[in-house]
């Protein structure tokens, strides 16, 4: 049997690879970056919502399951440049640095994931212009190293605001969908900061809080046990206070029905999820249908969310839409099974 190609080494791809290896199927894991672990590793995620477990505790066992296995051939720093259908599956061209090799594979799992929204595109929030306006993926690293300090002057902040739905639910940037993670991750960050530094006041500006399902518990705890405050309203713009370095968040408190201009020491943007560059490339190479949002579209998203409808091509993880790590891991398992069945047919 030719190997099964898993494209992408994030949670979904790692999970698919681990399952395929345990089935004894030869697996070719291709990752664009020089390391495995996807976005959680890239941005040094701190604790993972909703259970507040360290990201390492979740990612390391996944990594262990794929490293040093005879069934798994690992290719880091490698991209896919060509894919052609053959009688037994696909013939793919893999490029790393300046060498390109061609390989025969029997099936493909696309686990190409998402990219964080580039917050500079919401220019009114001043990300990239004001050093104390952070993207929440950067704050993850700060919390991870317990160095939550204002980048402008290195001083600890007294009051932090989170702005939800940055680059999500927003036709102005062309992203009308919900990122599903922004609420939970922002609230989790506020909880982590309040746990370690109760002297810092945490405010979350929201339109709706979408800590769906059992994640609601995190939202409730954040209010009841950690005193995180929630203000309803979407911030319109961020400016810098006159003669000072504090940021001013201008918005409407929709509960007060009143305009507000509140100073903060640090403002954190909950940037949304967009289809990853790898996802867009893979869609073109395999001719996979793409929805209006740019995510890959399963043929039957309810009955079989991991099947592309194209024989031999399967999906896993955030390539098909914003997804939490547990869901990505589950889909990795499902895609591994379907790819295995297809390769053995």
């Amino acid at each position: 049997m030719n190997p099964i190609l898993v494209l992408g080494g994030g949670p979904a791809g790692l999970s698919a690879t681990a399952e395929l290896a345990s089935l004894g199927a030869p697996t070719l894991l291709v990752e664009r970056e020089s390391y495995l672990g996807g976005n959680p590793k890239r941005w040094h995620y701190s604790l993972l919502a909703p259970d507040l477990r360290p990201a390492e505790e979740v990612m390391d066992p996944l990594l262990e399951r794929v490293t040093g296995r005879p069934e798994v051939e690992l290719r880091l720093g490698t991209t896919l440049t060509k894919a052609e259908r053959t009688a037994t599956g696909f013939s793919v061209a893999l490029r790393s640095a300046d060498t390109t090799v061609t390989r025969e594979v029997s099936a493909v799992v696309l686990a190409t994931g998402f990219d964080h929204f580039d917050s500079r595109r919401k220019f009114e929030y001043g990300y990239g212009r004001y050093p104390d306006v952070l993207d929440f993926k950067e704050l993850e690293g700060m919390i991870h190293d317990d160095k939550v300090l204002r980048p402008s002057d290195g001083r600890p902040p007294k009051r932090i605001a989170w702005i939800l739905c940055v680059g999500s639910r927003d036709v102005q940037v062309g992203n009308p969908w919900c990122c599903r993670m922004g609420c939970a991750v922002s609230i989790k960050q506020a909880v982590e900061i309040r746990q370690k530094h109760p002297e810092i006041d945490a405010y979350v500006y929201y339109m709706d809080i979408r800590t769906y399902g059992l994640w609601e518990d995190l939202y409730w705890k954040s209010m009841q046990e950690y005193g995180v405050k929630f203000i309803r309203g979407r911030i319109g713009q961020v400016t810098v206070a006159e003669g000072g370095s504090r940021l001013i968040a201008t918005g409407e408190d929709t509960i007060l029905s009143r305009p507000t201009e509140v100073p903060f020491d640090m403002i954190v943007l909950a940037s949304g999820m967009e289809p990853g560059t790898g996802t867009k490339q893979a869609a073109e190479l395999f001719g996979v249908p793409v929805g209006p949002e740019g995510f890959l579209t399963p043929r039957l998203s309810d009955l079989n969310p991991v099947d592309s409808g194209i024989p031999g091509v399967f999906f896993a993880g955030a390539a098909t839409g914003p997804k939490a790590i547990p869901d990505a891991v589950t889909e990795g398992m499902g895609a591994a099974l379907r790819a295995f069945q297809y390769a053995r047919r």
Binding site: R194, E199, M223, Q224, Y226, K229
Partner: protein, 243 residues
């Protein structure tokens, strides 16, 4: 468009101004105060949380279930009595706005429907009363006609242990600087007389053995007043946690 929010109107009034012998006193300018809310403060919420009965304030997520069933708000039509809003103002520390409701906030009749219905387990009735205590202790509430009436009523009652309606009416008129037309007074006097409640002054009703009772009550009232003067205790830094 008429200005609905009268409290925001600020008038520059010149009481007495003469220019070259011509009286030009009056309202020179009318401004609207800015409605921009510029600060968030955890002070009020921290204090409320630290009191017995106020510890569930952090749970509130502003759904409005309490206000929707509140008998003051709905049945009695006192729409400015809005427990959800009081809690929010305390949460974000908007004291200035909260102060406007310093009297209204005590109109709660403790029917406790809000506590029964709150999906988050906020003890709304207790929290609202605690917010009221905060306003009272910080002296945030200016004395209103209702306050003055309460004071006159209490004094009147303490005097003989039974209410002297005619005396209460006289005191209240004096306090408010009001003058009721004679015809109206006659009409009221007749009604009081026929119902046997015009026994005022030396003819007033008395309660037997009231002297001792009065002493006890006075002592208690003084004690309470003294307690109210105690400054608001400062909660420990970062008391944001806890229920």
């Amino acid at each position: 468009m008429p200005i609905v929010e009268k409290s925001l109107v600020r008038v520059d009034r010149t009481e007495k101004l003469e220019l070259e012998g011509i009286d030009v006193s009056g309202d020179w300018n009318t401004f609207l105060r800015s409605r921009v809310w510029t600060d968030l403060d955890v002070k009020v919420a921290d204090w409320v949380r630290a009191q017995p009965g106020g510890d569930t304030i952090d749970r509130c997520w502003q759904c409005g279930t309490c206000t929707a069933g509140c008998c003051m708000h709905t049945d009695f039509g006192l729409t400015e009595f809005n427990p959800r809003y009081f809690i929010y103002l305390a949460q974000i520390g908007y004291e200035e706005e909260l102060r406007r409701y310093a009297h209204t906030i005590w109109r709660c009749v403790s029917c406790n429907k809000c506590v029964e219905r709150c999906p988050k387990g906020v003890k709304v009735e207790e929290v609202v009363h605690t917010i009221g205590s905060y306003l009272e202790r910080t002296g945030a509430a200016p004395e209103s006609p209702a306050d003055r009436f309460d004071r006159a009523y209490t004094e009147n009652l303490l005097n003989r242990g039974i209410l002297d309606e005619a005396a209460l009416f006289r005191t209240y008129e004096r306090l408010e600087g009001r003058k009721t037309p004679t015809r109206e007074l006659l009409r009221m006097g007749l009604a009081l007389f026929t119902s046997g409640r015009l026994r005022t002054g030396p003819f007033a009703h008395r309660t037997r053995g009231w002297g001792k009772m009065r002493e006890v009550l006075r002592a208690r009232l003084e004690e309470e007043t003294r307690q109210r003067r105690v400054p608001v205790p400062k909660p420990p830094v970062g008391a944001g946690g806890g229920r």
